[in-house]
Symmetry: C2
Subunit: 306 residues, 2 copies
């Protein structure tokens, strides 16, 4: 069996090795994922590269362009809103400025986030259009690895889009997806993002919010929940509000968290990991990675990049 | 008459004053623009704020969200491609990291760019979907102020989209728009972006390319043209390839260039301005602005921003 060749996975493996966890074990997970990812019969594009647009193999930004085209197709199908594409582009720029790799700071946050999810009583993974489009499979795999519930919660809510997203998550393998019949509200939010379920988001103690808006992150923190955000911008309100801010590309972040969740550990070790973490310091480390990248770029140490 | 209140214009006025040009004169230009911008009868959204979505007046990112919604509407109407939204988001992040204002480096590049356009024999302003959506009016005003031709040139070229864009530019006030009947090719480009007109892009000596892709910028430089790029990413291939790289939000950049073009000057003065400019140094200055912004942000000197 050939190793997966997607860039995110390769980078991930390196950073994971750097964290001192057995590479062989992790490689096994990656390969398993690659097999699951090719499951036949997905209605939309659960498989990684299912595009109607040809992108030259030698294009310097091929990986990023493939994701772009996939997101554009999700908009066409009504699973994502057009403005979700702008939000993605914004994130892309921060990824670019961190070298399109998992930084040491991000890996640290991912380890802590996995510990929180594993130690939680009622963990929930929140899914919106962007998150589903980027990597539904890995969201589901993390939910399985951590015993988390999945709930769809979107800003531009329509019944049709909720149904499309819930159906899509189920087609990608999620056994149960909450959010379709909300019976509770997140206090202090006027938008439809407030709508949630009492057994999911409302009752959760630890909640993962990939690709988030600042308002809701703040409202969830006010509810005394542990909020884990995946947000490429280390300076965003979401990043500053969250308990743990992962400034990393979502697919890479999830793969690392799955690795940590499945790795050998116990509750006490995880509590240690949690207690040693400072989100503020970690954000500062992310920002310094960007500053270093920029300095290297103008010092001629990096090649030019489009 | 009330002064225009859009954020970009305010910022622009301040930076322009800083450049030592009479503020009163410039204020007049801004006011004229504000009037022209409200011309009745535009088919799409020539007017600045013509949206179907309500954004709360107190939202911290209101200006940026208004532009986002407008671009999304352009995609719906077929003038922009969905992936153009991602490119916009990417630019937005760099704007955010430069404090959403015209930096000293950008203003310097804008002054040089205006000088190049004014001294050119056959200046051309190139327009794509993103540029038209962001500010067709100002593109046209700069063309008038500098005697430049306007040519539409797009990556995802279809006859329908070309017609939509050309019609849109005409409805916004452009007397003549090239690009609909290409009779020449930019050498070395395999995509449809190569298609151009012999009287416009092909014959130009100075060409302004707002919101550009790196391939074409490089091809135009190979044709020995003076290439002026408006690109928020100072590290992009376009920025590195261009003769003058303006790392600024397009609407602000155009307003500044219009101010410089209409200001008192002569050919010799403009040649001086041109000869003193180093694009490499200027890009380094832009990058340092971002580095400073990041440092301030983690030093607690900036307020948090979502």
């Amino acid at each position: 069996m050939k190793a997966p060749t997607a860039k995110g996975q390769r980078t991930h493996k390196n950073t994971f090795q750097a964290a001192g966890t057995p590479a062989a074990y992790f490689s096994f997970i990656l390969h398993s994922y690659a097999i699951i990812g090719r499951r036949i019969g997905n209605k939309y594009v659960c498989r990684r590269h299912s595009l109607s647009v040809d992108i030259p193999k030698d294009h310097p930004r091929r990986d990023s362009l493939i994701v772009r085209e996939r997101l554009a197709e999700f908009v066409k199908k009504g699973l994502m809103t057009p403005t979700g594409l702008i939000a993605h582009g914004r994130g892309e720029a921060f990824d670019y400025l961190m070298g399109e790799r998992t930084t040491a700071a991000a890996l640290n946050a991912e380890r802590v986030a996995a510990a929180y999810l594993m130690n939680a009583k009622r963990p929930v993974i929140c899914v919106n259009g962007n998150a589903a489009a980027l990597n539904a499979k890995r969201l589901i795999e993390l939910a399985e690895a951590t015993g988390s519930k999945i709930e769809v919660n979107i800003f531009h809510r329509t019944e049709e889009r909720m149904k499309l997203l819930i159906d899509y998550m189920k087609e990608c393998g999620a056994p149960n997806v909450l959010g379709g019949d909300p019976d509770a509200r997140i206090p202090g939010l006027s938008s439809d993002r407030a709508l949630c379920t009492s057994e999911g988001i409302f009752a959760s103690d630890v909640i993962l919010v990939p690709i988030e808006d600042g308002d809701r992150a703040e409202a969830l923190v006010r509810m005394k929940k542990t909020v884990i955000a995946i947000d490429l911008n280390p300076l965003s309100r979401t990043s500053r509000m969250a308990t743990v801010s992962i400034n990393d590309e979502m697919s890479r972040a999830l793969a690392n968290m799955i690795g940590f969740a499945k790795g050998p550990s116990n509750k006490e070790k995880r509590n240690d990991i949690i207690s040693q973490f400072s989100n503020e310091e970690n954000i500062r480390a992310s920002v310094n990675e960007i500053r270093k990248y920029l300095l290297d770029a103008v010092s001629g140490e990096k090649n030019e990049r489009s």
